[in-house]
Subunit: 409 residues, 2 copies
Amino acid sequence: MNAAEDSFRSGEPRSRSTEGRLIGSVLKAFGNPPVTLVLPGGGHVAPAGEESVATVRLADRGVPFALARDPQLGFGDLYSEGRIDVQGDLVRMLEAVYRSSARAEARASLLGRLSGALRRPRRNSLAGSRDNIHHHYDIGNEFYTLWLGRTMAYTCAYYPTDSTTLDEAQVAKMDHVCRKLRLRPGETVVEAGFGWGTLALHMARHYGVKVRAFNISHEQVSYARARAAAEGLADRVEYVEDDYRNISGRYDAFVSVGMLEHVGVENYPALGEVAQRSIGANGRGLIHSIGRNYPARLHPWIERRIFPGAEPPSLKQMMDLFEPLDMSVLDVENLRLHYARTLTHWLELFEASAERVREMFDEKFVRMWRLYLAGSVAAFTTGTLQLFQVVFAPRENNDIPATRAHLYT
Amino acid sequence: MNAAEDSFRSGEPRSRSTEGRLIGSVLKAFGNPPVTLVLPGGGHVAPAGEESVATVRLADRGVPFALARDPQLGFGDLYSEGRIDVQGDLVRMLEAVYRSSARAEARASLLGRLSGALRRPRRNSLAGSRDNIHHHYDIGNEFYTLWLGRTMAYTCAYYPTDSTTLDEAQVAKMDHVCRKLRLRPGETVVEAGFGWGTLALHMARHYGVKVRAFNISHEQVSYARARAAAEGLADRVEYVEDDYRNISGRYDAFVSVGMLEHVGVENYPALGEVAQRSIGANGRGLIHSIGRNYPARLHPWIERRIFPGAEPPSLKQMMDLFEPLDMSVLDVENLRLHYARTLTHWLELFEASAERVREMFDEKFVRMWRLYLAGSVAAFTTGTLQLFQVVFAPRENNDIPATRAHLYT
């Protein structure tokens, strides 16, 4: 095949070659994004009508076949293996793909979207959750220290101003959460899913509360315990290596930041009951989670390679935490652009440490995580993903703030 | 029947008389609230264990039978007719009833609650909506001027401080809405359901926008048009006497305050489409509505006698406005305690004008509206009703405020 004869424009009548037909179907699956493809034989496919945002090189003749078999999973795996490469801004290119895919999806029938939502991720039974969480969070604390910043908080930060740094924004997020919960000295808090323990320490140190925090990632629990001991807070923060379903006791507040994505919608009523019995009639709670505009599976490559079992809910799905128990939702804030910024900062730190990551793992791992972080930025800037912070209280609790002004003074 | 022999405690083994058995079943239907009943024969029923919050007098021997036939509807009708009277604080008494009813409902099965939610109110077809709205809003503007305050706003106000007055709080609510929508001079707004036109005038005067507003209450439209002309704003505010389903054109913002309760959940996808096509890809919207913690019918007496067709949604039900169209929910604020305060202020003004209302209508009307306003205070203080203010935008609109601090400066 000669380069000139296999060059065509996406969305136009396809090249008659097998490769051309495959490429056409792959582009169609992504809604014909405005990117230029460079084919293994040297031919290229340019976007029709729109300016090209990046150039995507397919390294060998197996790539179009693998992509056609499973476009979503194929792209991620082939990129990780270096058989697909992107010249230009990776985030901008992925934003263009998310936008064109969303337009294609909007044209598809509601039935198609619903059936997509029905394909369920890996189950989160007690044992399943342990396996799923181990896969992502137990690959070594040192790796995460390279790019999460000083706080080791692995959730959406909060940027009060344009000049806020990543570390400042993570602290601001913790204060935002604590203010939303109106924590007072002497109160008790239970935390479901504590990451490396940062929020629990912050609450104990700056808000004078006692915290009992649950997590099933063994590496994170060890790290957090050492940290609490080193910072002299072990008497006020107890880290428990156990599942949220085993939380017991009564507390003034329930908080969970970045765990709900891993819980699975079928377990929301159970999690709601844990929250309700933890806070009784007079407490309050906050759940912070990645979400979606409507029920849909997480990107299949992310779910398969990065976050097994993960399933960001729509706000409607989140209501299964509260409605069966007559709990009142007091406040919902969508922070999706804050997560785009957080991820941009993580990606910058990750790139600065890419050499070290390559030594710790390998080139494939570096490319995989680069794609995951860049794709996540794009998912939040294009509204493919949302970030919901939800404050709730039992129905009859009237000890709730009259306005939200106290969050901003 | 002798008073002493028919006196017993609620929740205890019932009196053997027919009347005693009827009263026992009625109290049970309300979850045995802590009130003292005075029976027509002079006997009384005192609450078991709890302090009595009020005394309820049943005027004649037909009352227990009518109550037993339909406790919810019966109580409202018999109170309106003066055959039931309440000595003590009416709001406190109704709060006690809402609390005990909720506890009884929580003990009932989920199935029972679901079947309750399935009993649907009067349909809101185009013609049905006109009838339903006419019933409540077209009973004479003069009546509403007696107790709504200077702004004639008939929706939940917003009290930034404890000393805010009703009129100040209604203005603060309008500013809160306009700030959430970030209205800028020169922009256009479409309003679905405009009451007596207050918000539209406020937006035009203070935010420099042009407003096209829709309402099907003939009396309200006439009132609003006269007001716009008198205030010299007729060139910037157009009041259209038509259904929200007939809204056309493109605007920068969509706003609807206090209409959704009358729309009916089956029409949410249609209303969502109206909002979406009104604002296109770059606009934003706000919907303010009475809501509930879970799907349930409005109190049957309120639905039958006061607000035919009304159906406050749960937050999950509200999501049917946004999820089918891939719109993003940016902010939800629950203002239920603000509505309790607004209603308390309305009730005070209503009582101060009770004589005038009696002249305009009759004693039964006065008692009916007193019960409606007092019961509404109680519904919001006990969390039986919620008030949700929801800000939304099309998925890809990134021109959204970074934080909510601008609402509080």
